[in-house]
């Protein structure tokens, strides 16, 4: 137990450091990116010279190192996320509005993708028919070769369930690992012996296969959250779903520094927290 606590403390420390580094890195990337000095509003012929000058001043102040550091400190220590310059709304409000949509898409994606992959992997491992094994493997091979954005467009065009799309993206990415892991589990001597003695398939699965595979499954579960968010971006952007993925897309194309930094921090925090939970769960199982 002490070893687990030690590992978790280290992970929390590493997560905080990663959050700081990620935020600073994103801010620096945006600040020094080509095009930060330009503002499309300056192309508006209706603006007077003084308006253009004030826009330039405002941009110079936004890009000032002291101002950036001050904004970052306010965000970290006072939980003040600031306002999005491109959408002209408080970032906290934007996140609150859009988080449920992305959470729903990711939850359906992760649960659906895992359920589908698990069912196919079990069928592939337990079936003695070459056709079943070939069909499951080839269907996953085709799915993994499709760009997520193309899949999103096709499903959107035919009026399919776009909110469940992430499941189709996650499924082939975990299928191979699951199939190999289950195959390895079913080859273990004690499991072979249990099956030979006539223990039912469900009992073998629940009492012997799952305890053997669980630590590795927990580790993979964390990475699928990261995959789900990556997949949610094109799905939300192309299918017009108002979630965090679409917000990330809007922030990136509008070079919205505060919004981009907040989303990056949120994504790092979520993926690291998932990694930590999966590590903890896996360690508990090993410890037990």
């Amino acid at each position: 137990m002490r070893a687990i606590l030690h590992i978790l403390t280290r992970r929390i420390g590493a997560m905080l450091l990663l959050l700081l580094a990620g935020g600073l890195l994103t801010a620096l990337m945006v600040r020094f990116s080509p095009g930060f000095e330009t503002d499309e509003r300056e192309l508006d012929p209706r603006l007077s010279q003084s308006s253009r000058l004030s826009l330039e001043k405002q941009r110079a102040a936004d890009g000032d190192a002291a101002n950036l550091a001050n904004r970052f400190a306010r965000m970290v220590f006072h939980a003040d996320l600031g306002e999005s310059p491109s959408l002209k709304r408080p970032i906290g409000e934007l996140l609150r509005e859009r988080l449920p949509v992305t959470a729903e898409i990711m939850a359906i994606g992760v649960i659906g993708g895992w359920t589908l992959a698990f069912a196919l992997a079990m069928a592939s491992v337990l079936s003695r028919r070459l056709v079943v094994r070939g069909l499951t493997a080839s269907s996953q091979q085709v799915l993994i070769c499709l760009p997520a954005a193309a899949l999103a467009i096709v499903v959107f065009d035919i009026g399919g369930p776009v909110r469940a799309l992430v499941a189709l993206i996650i499924c082939p990415r975990v299928f191979d690992f699951l199939r190999n892991l289950l195959h390895e589990a079913y080859q273990q001597p004690h499991i072979l012996a249990a099956r030979a003695k006539g223990l039912g398939e469900f009992a073998v699965w629940a009492k012997h296969v799952m305890p053997y595979a669980a630590p590795q499954l927990f580790a993979l579960a964390a990475t699928s959250v990261s995959i789900a968010f990556g997949a949610a971006i094109p799905v939300e952007a192309l299918c017009d779903l108002p979630g965090i993925g679409q917000l990330a897309w809007l922030a990136a194309t509008a070079r919205d520094l505060p919004l981009l930094v907040v989303i990056t921090l949120l994504v790092i925090a979520v993926t690291q927290a998932c990694n930590m939970v999966s590590d903890w769960a896996a360690l508990r199982r090993v410890d037990a």
């Binding site: 990620g22 954005a149 193309a150 467009i153 094109p234």
Partner: protein, 266 residues
């Protein structure tokens, strides 16, 4: 080499030769407009029809194939070289080198790949000339795609560094540079090769996703992602509009199948 690997490699080679040959002999280059024939159905002259600007779809698909089959492996090679340098230094020297490299790798891997790519691509000029934006896209893929391979190479170098032949070479007075160049790197060749092969399909799919979001090369250069944007208009979708998608699936599947399954030779 397995039979499936051989078949996949042959299909890739045929696709590459077809794409290259069509560029040399095509009567209707990818950007030539047949203004009297917009949205034409497939015919003998245009086997995949024409797009809404009257350009030959087949020529454009083959041009995009040429671009992807040349630039994706080049970007994968660059990413793997970068990974070899960073992972090699981290694995061989250890200590602070290793800690710093692992921190950067962890930071890059903790962000979803597509989010990282999208943010970095959007920060670069979006109104660059088409050829420049094409090179920027693939350059960016190679600059950001090294983290995963670097972790694998670092682990490989660490394992090799402790191996008996490396210990013996060091005991006989072999310097770090010589040990790396004559002993460790030749033994890492299968790992490096596998990393290049596994990175290529990732880069192809990433370019396609970026292209669909309008962040890859602009007109008139066709890319697989750019061509897939035709699918965004549900009213004008025809079976031939799926040709780029079919070629992507074939190419990515072949790269996945042809990936050498080699490990360290120790």
């Amino acid at each position: 080499m397995k039979r499936s690997q051989l078949v996949a490699a042959l299909i890739l080679a045929a696709l590459f030769v077809w794409a290259m040959a069509s560029g040399m002999s095509s009567a209707s280059p990818q950007s030539r407009q047949f203004r009297e024939l917009p949205d034409a159905r497939p015919s003998r002259q245009f086997p995949l029809g024409t797009d809404d600007l009257g350009r030959d779809r087949l020529s454009r698909v083959l041009y995009a194939t040429r671009v992807s089959l040349l630039l994706a492996p080049a970007a994968a090679l660059m990413a793997t070289l970068l990974a070899a340098v960073i992972g090699g230094i981290a694995g061989y020297f250890g200590g602070w080198w290793d800690k710093c490299a692992v921190a950067v790798i962890d930071l890059l891997l903790s962000l979803p790949w597509f989010f990282l790519l999208l943010a970095a691509r959007a920060l670069l000029p979006l109104n660059a000339p088409p050829l420049a934006s094409l090179l920027v896209t693939y350059g960016l893929l190679s600059m950001l795609g090294w983290a995963g391979p670097a972790r694998v190479i670092r682990a490989g170098v660490r394992r090799l560094r402790e191996s008996e032949f490396a210990l013996r070479a060091r005991a006989e007075g072999c310097g770090s540079l010589r040990l790396l160049s004559r002993h460790l790197i030749p033994n890492l060749k299968p790992v490096l090769l596998a990393q290049i092969w596994t990175t290529i399909p990732v880069f192809i799919l990433s370019e396609a996703n970026l292209g669909l979001l309008g962040l890859s090369a602009g007109e008139p250069y066709p890319t697989w992602g750019g061509l897939l944007r035709d699918l965004q208009n549900p009213l004008s979708i025809r079976p031939e509009a799926f040709a780029p998608l079919a070629v992507i699936v074939i190419a990515v599947a072949c790269f996945n199948l042809a990936t050498p399954r080699g490990g360290l030779t120790t």
